[in-house]
């Protein structure tokens, strides 16, 4: 079956149908392109479990060139999705990296073929705990196997196989997306020409695991979570998920950004009310962030994906010698961090750079001055965009990619 897709794939490139037998089923609906892998193509997971009959949802932008050398895989973050530039069908809001990706932009879709896959375990069309388990006809919920960053990357590789893309020109991602970038470069060095891990780390820190645990406990402590089976009861743990989002959102900002944006300003009132309304603007802002989040995200997906991040530890998989994760790596790297990011601070990026230097890898490293915290990679940061564009331009010349 041919995948129907909003974006165009170069006309002289037919999507390989021999990659799978029977071919993965492709459909296109409000979730964009979806690929279903049949029972003959199970996904072996790090946990030891296997996932049989799973679906991956993805979006593409731009055109794949004749020799299939211009593909960029963008890996989205924890609560991101495959809608990089186009409107998210749930929220109607513009794509999360619309600032960076598009015709004539830093990641120029006139030059590159951009793919973004909803992560395994996600809730935007890829198989996850909110989807129906074909074996039981009921939502997976907590019967869904625990997944890892490496599992997500394996599932993405299956999608690329289907698209006939042997080597990515670049794999790019921030935060959890950056973890996937590192996993890609480590596990499939021959399939990655260049890699841009942004605001990320080779392992989740104790502090970051702690914040995730707060979020998970908020969800699991919500009466409507119902031991994970809320979909069977037609309810959702909205309050718990909103609290999880509020706590996490604080970690994406910085003290300076909060002070600049809100300070101690009051919300539509002259004085404090001696009560527990949202007196302060910052409270109102966080409540709003929580409430819009529950409209678009599944609570169990949040549990699974945060767990995948917690488990990520590239050094541990290589006897605590991180450089072994990148042994003789042929990949060109550009590591990027932001000065005010305290969730994935610059020292985490330096650790990546030190490990790559130990392999004499081709690596660039920039720290961008910003007071916007971890979320800076999603926001308007001209210096960041300039260096990312420069790196991609240099790599593209070496890869022999023509300018549009």
């Amino acid at each position: 079956m041919r995948v129907r897709n909003r974006a165009t794939i170069g006309e002289n490139v037919a999507i390989s149908e021999s990659a799978a037998s029977p071919a993965p089923g492709g459909t296109s609906d409000s979730f964009g392109a979806r690929l279903t892998f049949g029972p003959d193509r199970p996904l072996r997971l790090d946990s030891g479990a296997g996932l049989v009959g799973y679906t991956m949802a993805y979006q593409t932008y731009g055109r794949l060139n004749a020799d299939r050398s211009n593909a960029i895989l963008i890996c989205h973050a924890l609560t991101g999705d495959q809608y990089v530039t186009d409107a998210n069908p749930y929220t109607g809001r513009r794509g999360w990296w619309d600032l960076v990706v598009g015709p004539g932009k830093v990641i120029d879709t006139d030059r590159y073929f951009v793919i973004c896959v909803n992560v395994l375990g996600g809730c935007m069309g890829s198989t996850g705990p909110g989807e129906v388990n074909p074996a039981t006809g009921r939502p997976w919920a907590l019967t869904f196997p625990v997944i890892t960053i490496a599992d997500m990357v394996r599932a993405q590789a299956m999608v690329l196989d289907h698209l006939g893309i042997q080597q990515l020109f670049c794999v790019i991602g921030g935060s959890m997306g950056g973890m996937q970038v590192l996993q890609w470069a480590s596990a499939y060095p021959e399939r990655v020409f260049s890699a841009v891990p942004i605001a990320t780390s080779v392992r989740h820190s104790a502090q970051n695991i702690a914040f995730h645990e707060v979020g998970r406990q908020a969800i699991m402590g919500d009466r409507d979570w119902r031991d994970g089976n809320y979909l069977d009861h037609d309810v959702r743990p909205r309050a718990g998920l909103a609290v999880a989002r509020m706590a996490a959102h604080i970690t994406y900002l910085s003290e300076a950004a909060l002070r600049r944006k809100f300070g101690r300003k009051l919300q539509n009132r002259e004085r404090i009310t001696y009560g527990f309304d949202a007196d302060f603007q910052v409270e109102s802002y966080l409540r709003h962030q929580g409430s819009i989040f529950v409209e678009r995200f599944d609570a169990n997906s949040y549990l699974y994906i945060t767990r995948a991040m917690d488990y990520f530890d590239l050094a541990a998989e290589h006897d605590e010698v991180l450089s072994r994760a990148f042994r003789r790596t042929p990949v060109r790297y550009c590591v990027i961090s932001f000065t005010s990011d305290w969730l994935f601070p610059t020292r985490d990026s330096r650790e990546i750079v030190h490990a790559l230097n130990a392999e004499a890898a081709n690596v660039s490293f920039v720290e961008i001055e910003s007071d916007k915290g971890h979320d800076a990679f999603l926001l308007k940061e001209p210096e960041f965009h300039k260096t990312l564009g420069g790196f991609l331009g240099g790599a593209a010349e070496r890869r022999g990619l023509k300018k549009p």
């Binding site: 004499a360 690596v363 490293f365 920039v366 001055e369 210096e383 790196f391 010349e397």
Partner: protein, 209 residues
């Protein structure tokens, strides 16, 4: 953007061209203290080298990366130890040794990680420097040493003979020395003592012995 390797108006410094002339096509090069990446860019364009840079200033790093060069923010004193032995064909340290905290250690690291280390220094033995201190009684300032004593990053200045002696003590082989004037043009001077008096800078090609 006019192409990441577009030529810079005015070309590059003459002393950098002298360095470039010593580097073979397609070599693996590490430029330590690469500034805005002028040498790396030149080498990439004219010799197709596999070039990397280390630069202390973040602004310099970002400028280099934005030009498509592979540059990391780092420090010659602390970050050379990460690289494996013989990782590069050439390591370049241009007008930077005098600003390091431990020049001996830096030189040892350079010849460890590269088959050839190309090191250039401003010569503190030049007659104008000597005169300035001897007769003027003030800390010397020259074209190559342009900052006053209280603002200079140069904490370990040396003469050509000093560096020669250090290499001998450290079991670092001197493959080649070139004496340069302040513009970077090669001077033909036969004796080390004369060169130490007359050349404003010097280029050393060093190897581990």
């Amino acid at each position: 953007m006019t192409g990441f390797l577009a030529g810079r108006p005015g070309g590059i410094r003459v002393d950098l061209l002298v360095i470039a002339s010593l580097i073979s096509d397609g070599a693996r090069v590490l430029d330590v203290g690469c500034g805005d990446g002028a040498l790396l860019e030149h080498l990439t364009r004219t010799k197709s080298v596999d070039g990397r840079g280390i630069e202390l200033s973040q602004a310099g790093v970002n400028a280099g990366v934005a030009r498509g060069l592979s540059v990391i923010q780092g420090d010659a004193d602390t970050d050379l130890k990460d690289y494996p032995d013989g990782a590069f064909d050439y390591a370049v340290l241009s007008q930077t040794l005098q600003a390091t905290r431990n020049p001996k250690r830096v030189l040892e690291q350079l010849v460890r990680i590269a088959r050839n280390a190309i090191v250039t220094i401003p010569n503190f033995g030049h007659w104008r420097v000597r005169l300035s201190l001897a007769l003027g009684g003030r800390m010397p300032m020259t074209d190559l040493l342009a900052e006053p004593w209280y603002a200079t990053p140069n904490i370990h200045l040396c003469t050509i003979r000093d560096l020669t002696a250090l290499c001998r003590e450290s079991a670092i082989g001197i493959e080649q020395v070139r004496f340069l004037d302040s513009q970077g043009q090669t001077m033909s001077l036969r004796s080390l003592r004369f060169a130490n008096l007359l050349s404003e800078q010097a280029l050393f090609v060093l190897r581990r012995t």
